[in-house]
């Protein structure tokens, strides 16, 4: 039997077998001397090595086995490691948008606009490096000012903050309504302490 036929058959057998293939077993199948099979396997090994193939032949105690080329391990790892994709929640996106359009902005201002506490959301956004602390206001209590980061620009593919998409009606909601006093316009000043205390109970 032609050397080439035997080598091709060995390749098929090694591929299916998975485990190291004993040259004795192969020699029996072809009814040839196992020395001949050994030489075929060594030739194959050389061919795969020479061509820089992604699969190479490993010899294990007179048995032969296909394995992947070591240098390619990184690519295999990338193939086998699924990427976890995460999306931002609606509340994170809202908060991020308010920071983006109104920066520099305090947490209090954001909470006034959203009407809900934002501590956790803000922490999450900071962990993801999408927003950062910019400094403090000069007002009493000196609340922290927040703004978006370069990472934010990169992730959303904005070249600069000027690239933020124009949003209709943004003025009305973000830049006029954000003061607590304005929200209950006109009524605020007239409220008595008694009323307030009643509300708390």
């Amino acid at each position: 039997m032609a050397n080439k036929t035997i080598k091709s058959a060995i390749e098929s057998m090694m591929f299916v077998w998975g485990e190291p293939l004993n040259i004795k077993d192969v020699a029996d199948i072809f009814d040839v001397d196992k020395k001949e099979i050994y030489e075929c396997c060594k030739e194959l090994q050389e061919e795969y090595e020479q061509d820089g193939r992604g699969i190479v032949i490993r010899e294990v105690n007179k048995s032969f086995q296909f394995v992947t080329r070591k240098e390619n391990r990184e690519f295999i790892e990338r193939l086998c490691t699924p990427v976890r994709r995460r999306r931002l929640s609606q509340s994170a996106l809202e908060t991020l948008a308010i920071v983006a359009y109104k920066q520099p902005v305090t947490k209090g201002e954001i909470e006034a606009i959203r009407g809900i506490r934002c501590d956790r959301v803000m922490e999450g956004l900071m962990d993801k490096n999408l927003i950062a602390q910019l400094g403090r206001t000069d007002t009493v209590g000196r609340p922290i000012l927040y703004g978006t980061t370069d990472e934010f620009l990169k992730q959303f593919e904005f070249e600069s903050l000027k690239d933020l998409p124009p949003i209709e009606d943004i003025e009305g909601v973000i830049f006029e309504d954000d003061e607590p006093t304005v929200i209950i316009d006109g009524v605020a000043g007239q409220i008595s302490l008694e009323e307030l205390k009643k509300d708390e109970d």
């Binding site: 295999i76 995460r86 605020a188 008595s192």
Partner: protein, 270 residues
């Protein structure tokens, strides 16, 4: 006897399969089925299968009745008048022939597929390697894009506008309470920033000194926090400055916060 029919039924995949078999066996052309002969064979066959208690699909009986109907229509005399010439006469078998042709076509494709399956079995796949060896710590990346950013924000603005309209008309108390909640949070932050136990004047908490609402909300917030034992207060004389200090309970939130689930919706796709 019974057995032989059982075996046979397994071979026939349906009424058309049986009919095609009978037609081919009788060496008839599918275009010229001798309907009474084939009907007789078909009906007898079905009948015997029933007698043998073979669980017969109702479709076999349906085709039997169709065959009988075609047969009876074939027996109707054709009157050769001017109006009823040959090319206007519709062969009662036409529809059946079309169906059988279509069926035979797919039967032929089925045997082509069968051959291919046999052929393809000649090459062997190998099982997947154990991938755990190659599985690393998962990379995480955020799926972010400008349209979804814009959309989320616009949705929010819409909601907010509607909400504000409603609020403008009523629910004053709710609004005030919300503002108190925010102020409590601010006060909390304020005390978090200073050394524990250090005292601060109440007026330091007020952002806008001239705003009575701001003062009263802050005062109400302080009262609330005192009630919750998160702040302590001391007033040395009537109308004097109120000194405030944080207790160890400062951070105890009574106010519901947003849950972590809301913050990040992890989603896995490979």
């Amino acid at each position: 006897m019974v057995m032989s029919y059982r075996v046979k039924l397994n071979v026939f995949e349906g009424p058309f399969d049986l009919l095609v078999y009978l037609i081919e066996h009788a060496r008839m052309s599918i275009y010229d089925i001798r309907i009474s002969e084939i009907t007789k064979q078909y009906v007898e066959y079905v009948h015997q299968m029933q007698e043998a208690n073979v669980n017969l699909a109702s479709e076999f009986l349906l085709l039997a009745s169709e065959l009988l109907e075609i047969k009876s229509r074939m027996l109707l005399p054709r009157i050769n008048t001017e109006e009823n010439i040959e090319d206007r006469y519709e062969d009662p078998r036409t529809e059946l022939v079309e169906k059988l042709k279509e069926y035979k076509k797919y039967k032929a494709i089925a045997s082509m597929l069968e051959e291919r399956l046999e052929e393809s079995a000649a090459s062997q796949e190998k099982p997947q390697e154990d991938l755990t060896e190659y599985t690393n710590e998962q990379d995480e990346y955020l799926v972010l894009d400008s349209p979804s950013f814009k959309k989320a924000f616009e949705d929010f603005l819409q909601r907010k506008k509607k909400l504000d309209e409603i609020r403008a008309h009523h629910v004053r108390t709710g609004k005030q309470r919300m503002t108190t909640e925010i102020r409590i949070s601010n006060i909390k932050d304020f005390f978090k920033e200073i050394p524990a136990g250090e005292r601060r004047n109440f007026m330091e908490l007020i952002e806008k000194k001239e705003d009575k609402y701001d003062i009263s909300v802050t005062f109400a917030s302080v009262l609330q926090m005192m009630k919750e034992k998160r702040l302590g207060a001391e007033q040395r004389r009537l109308f004097g400055d109120i000194e405030l200090y944080a207790t160890e309970n400062l951070m105890d939130d009574v106010v519901p916060d947003e849950t972590p689930e809301e913050v990040v919706n992890g989603e896995q796709d490979n």
